[in-house]
Symmetry: none
Subunit: 430 residues, 2 copies
C-alpha cells in the first residue's frame, strides 16, 4: 500500500519540511487548453486521489486560463480557504507560462536563477541532441527560497513556496511529468508531517440501483469512522468504506467489520471488491471451477465475447463465440430450429434458450450463454418494445432464461445486457 | 450540419428565453466523487468545448463536493464573475444530492413538485420493471419558475433558473445524461439569444497522427475565420472548422471553401464528417454498394462485430460473426488448416488470410474480415511482440492482409485493431 519514496530536492533555503495534519488543500489547474476543454483535467483527478490517500482535506478544485490577473484572483480565493494550494501547468518556456511569476508576486518574492536546475535543463537537451533555446532558461528561474523539485521527465522543475503558513506547490502541466514528480517528491514531503493513515475498500454491486442500496444500508452510511459512501456507475453501484486511524492494521479491522455488516444486508448483490469488474470475476470464477464458456449473441453483436476477452488470460475459459445477428446465422451456426424462429420470433425465451444450448453443444464448452433482444432505436413493437431482451444460460443442469426490460439508448441497452449476462454466469458458477 | 433540435421544456413560468452574446459563463461540477478524484471531470471538458463553439466566454471552472455550505460560497464567487453558471451533478435521489436545494436557496426560491417530471420518473421505473423508491420523488422537485429540461436518459431532469440577470443551468452528473441534455436543450436555449451565427464542421481523420496532420495544414490553421483546430482522440484526429458570421449561409460558404483546401492535402485520410464514426461510414458504404460483411476475430474477441452492430440498421449488411479465440475454434468455425496454424502460428499473415476467407465462405457474405494478434500484456515474444496484429480482408477480388505494430495496453491495442479493420473495409468498398 505504501509507495517507494525517492525524495530528492535541492533545498535552497531553510523552510520546507512536513505538513501539519488536518491541513486543507486546494488544486488549481492553470492553462487555457484545460479551461476551454481541449484537454481533460486528469491532473486534478490524480492529485485529488493522492491527497485523499494522504489524508489531506480537499474542498475545492479550480481551473483558470493562462492569465496572470485571473490566476492571482483565484490564488487569493484559494488561500482564503486553504493552507496548501497545489498548482499544475504554466511552468513551460513560453510567454504564456506565468504561474511561477504570479505565485512569486503573490508571496512578494523575487525570481532567481537556480543554477542546478539550469544545468539539469542543459544536460536534458544534450541527451536529446537538441539545442537549448534561450527561453528554456526561464524554466530555471525559481521564487527565492523555494524548495526545488527536480523533474526527471521534462525541463520544468517544480517548486514549493511557503510563507506565513501558506504553501504553494507548483507542478508542471504534462501528466507524464506531473504524476512522477508528485509521487516521488510531493507525497513524501507531505507524508513527512502526517501521523494518521487512511485506507479504503470498495464493494462492487450489481442488480440493485443506488437508491435501493441506500435504503438497505442508510444507518450504516451515518457511521463516521469508517465512512460508507455510495457511487453510482453505469449499471452498477460502488460502496466505498474508508477508515482513518493511526495504523493500517486498525484501519483494516474497522473496514472488515463494516464490510461484514454490509454483506449481511446486500450480500448476493456484491460481486467483487476494488478493481474487480463483472468480467474479471466471471473469468476468475470459471477458472476456479475449471469451466469453459461460449457465447451466442444477437442484439449484443459480439460485445459479451468482447467484454470477456478484455480480461487478460480469458483464453483459459473462453474459445468460441457465435455472433448470430441474422436468423440464418442462428440456424446455421447454433442449430436454432427454423420453426422456433417462425413461431416465437428471434426475440423470445425459446430462441434464447436454443441459442445458449447450441453454443454449449457446438463448442463443447461447459456453459453456453445467449442474448437476443431489441436494442433500438427502431424495431420495437407494442408487444416487443425496444429494451426487451432475453438472456439464457445452458449448462449440464439445463437451461435457464431471464427476461429483461431495459431502458435508454442502443448503447446502454446493449451494455446492460452484457452486464446482466455476466452476472448470470457469476451467480450460476458460485 | 445542424443538429436536430428537440427542445422540449415544460416552462413553468415566464422567464427563460435566450442569452445575450458576450456573456460570461462558469462551470461548477458538484460531487465528492469528482472532488476526490474518483472520477475525472469530463463534464467540464464537454461543456467548455461546447461553450467555446457557442461563442460564450469562459474564465473559470470549479469543483466542489456534495456540501451545501461550500456550494453556496462557490455560487457566490461564480456569480460575482459571471452571468451564467452551469452546474453538473447533485440532482440524484440521495440525501447527498443537494444542488437544486442550494441553488433554490441562493435565488430565494421554493422547490415545488413538477408533476410532468414525476410522471416521467414513474414511467421510467415502470419500463425498468423496478419499484420507484420514495426518494426518487425528490428528483421531480424543481425551483419555482424554472425551465425544466427533460432528461431522456435518466430520472433527473435538468432545469434553468434565471433571476436578476443571473442564470443557473443545472444538469445531471452522469455524462451519458448530461451530454445529450446539453446538446438537445441547453445549446439551443443559448443559441436562441445570439445575434451572430457560429457554425462548425468536423473532419474525421484516420491513419495519420495529430502532428502529421498539423504539418500538412499548418498554414490553414492560421486562418482566423473560419478557424481550423485539431483535436486528437484515441486513434484518430478531428479537424474542426468553425466560422462566425451574420448568417448560416455565409458561414457554410466559408466552411466549404476551407474543407476543399483541407481535402486537397489530406483527402484519403478523411473518412467522414461530424457525427460519423468509422463504424457508421463502413456500414453505410457497404449498404450503398449492396455488400454484406462477416467477421472472424481472434485478439479482438468480438469487438469488430460489436462495433459494427453499434450502428443501428447494421443488420442490413452484417449477419454472421465468428469469435475464434481458440485455435480449435479457428479450425472448426472457419476451416483454418491445422497445418497453417502449426507452421505459422495463430498470429500470422497466413492464418489471418484463411480466417477472412473462411468467414466469407461460411457466411456467404461479400466480404470477410479478420484480426489475429497479441493484445498483451502477456504472450509476447521477441519475434512476435505484444502489439503485433495481422488483419485481413477477403472479397471476390482475393484476400489482402496488413501487418500492424501497435503500442499501448491491451485495451488500446484491441481498440486500434478494430479501427484499422474498419478503415480497411472502408477503403476497399470506396
Amino acid at each position: 500500500m505504501k509507495r517507494e519514496i525517492n525524495y530528492i530536492n535541492f533545498c535552497a533555503a531553510g523552510f520546507g519540511g512536513g505538513m501539519e495534519l488536518n491541513m486543507k488543500a486546494e488544486i488549481i489547474a492553470v492553462g487555457t487548453e484545460i479551461l476551454l476543454g481541449q484537454i481533460v483535467n486528469t491532473n486534478a483527478q490524480y492529485i485529488a486521489k493522492e491527497l485523499s490517500e494522504l489524508g489531506i482535506d480537499l474542498y475545492y478544485q479550480t481551473v483558470v486560463g493562462d492569465n496572470p490577473e485571473r490566476l492571482k484572483s483565484v490564488l487569493n480565493i484559494a488561500f482564503g480557504r486553504a493552507d496548501m494550494v497545489i498548482l499544475t501547468g504554466g511552468l513551460g518556456p513560453t510567454n504564456d507560462d506565468l504561474t511561477k511569476e504570479t505565485v512569486a508576486e503573490y508571496f512578494g518574492l523575487e525570481l532567481e536563477m537556480h543554477e542546478q536546475s539550469l544545468n539539469e535543463i542543459k544536460s536534458f537537451f544534450e541527451r536529446l541532441g537538441r539545442e537549448m533555446t534561450e527561453n528554456n532558461r526561464k524554466q530555471a528561474m525559481i521564487p527565492k527560497g523555494a524548495v526545488v523539485l527536480k523533474n526527471d521527465n521534462g525541463t520544468a522543475p517544480g517548486c514549493i513556496v511557503s510563507k506565513d503558513g501558506k504553501t504553494a506547490i507548483l507542478l508542471p502541466g504534462p501528466p507524464k511529468e506531473m504524476a512522477p514528480l508528485f509521487d516521488s517528491r510531493v507525497a513524501p514531503y507531505i507524508k513527512s508531517g502526517a501521523d494518521s493513515v487512511i485506507v479504503s475498500r470498495s464493494l462492487r454491486i450489481f442488480g440493485k440501483g443506488e437508491s435501493s442500496v441506500e435504503a438497505l444500508v442508510r444507518d450504516l452510511m451515518n457511521s463516521s469512522n469508517p465512512t460508507v459512501a455510495p457511487y453510482a456507475k453505469e449499471g452498477e453501484v460502488e460502496l466505498r468504506v474508508t477508515a482513518k486511524t493511526e495504523s493500517e492494521e486498525k484501519a483494516n479491522l474497522l473496514i472488515n467489520e463494516m464490510i461484514e455488516k454490509l454483506k449481511s444486508r446486500i450480500g448476493e448483490f456484491i460481486y467483487g471488491y476494488d478493481e474487480d469488474s463483472l468480467a474479471s470475476v466471471t473469468v476468475s470464477g470459471l477458472k476456479k471451477k475449471g469451466l469453459t464458456l461460449s457465447t451466442a449473441e444477437s442484439c449484443t453483436g459480439g460485445l459479451i465475447a468482447g467484454t470477456i476477452t478484455s480480461v487478460a488470460g480469458s483464453s483459459d475459459v473462453f474459445g468460441f463465440g457465435y455472433t448470430t445477428y441474422a436468423n440464418e446465422a442462428k440456424a446455421a451456426m447454433l442449430g436454432v430450429n427454423k420453426e422456433t424462429l417462425d413461431k416465437f420470433g428471434a426475440v423470445s425465451e425459446e430462441v434464447a434458450k436454443e441459442m445458449a444450448a447450441g453454443a454449449k453443444k457446438n463448442s463443447g464448452s461447459s456453459i453456453g450463454v445467449s442474448a437476443t433482444g431489441i436494442a433500438g432505436p427502431g424495431g420495437g413493437t407494442s408487444e416487443k418494445p425496444v429494451g426487451l431482451v432475453y438472456i439464457a444460460l445452458a449448462d449440464d443442469n439445463g437451461v435457464i432464461c431471464k427476461k429483461l426490460n431495459l431502458t435508454g439508448n442502443r448503447e446502454r441497452i446493449r451494455g446492460l445486457t452484457v452486464m446482466n449476462v455476466l452476472d448470470m454466469i457469476r451467480r450460476r458458477v458460485n
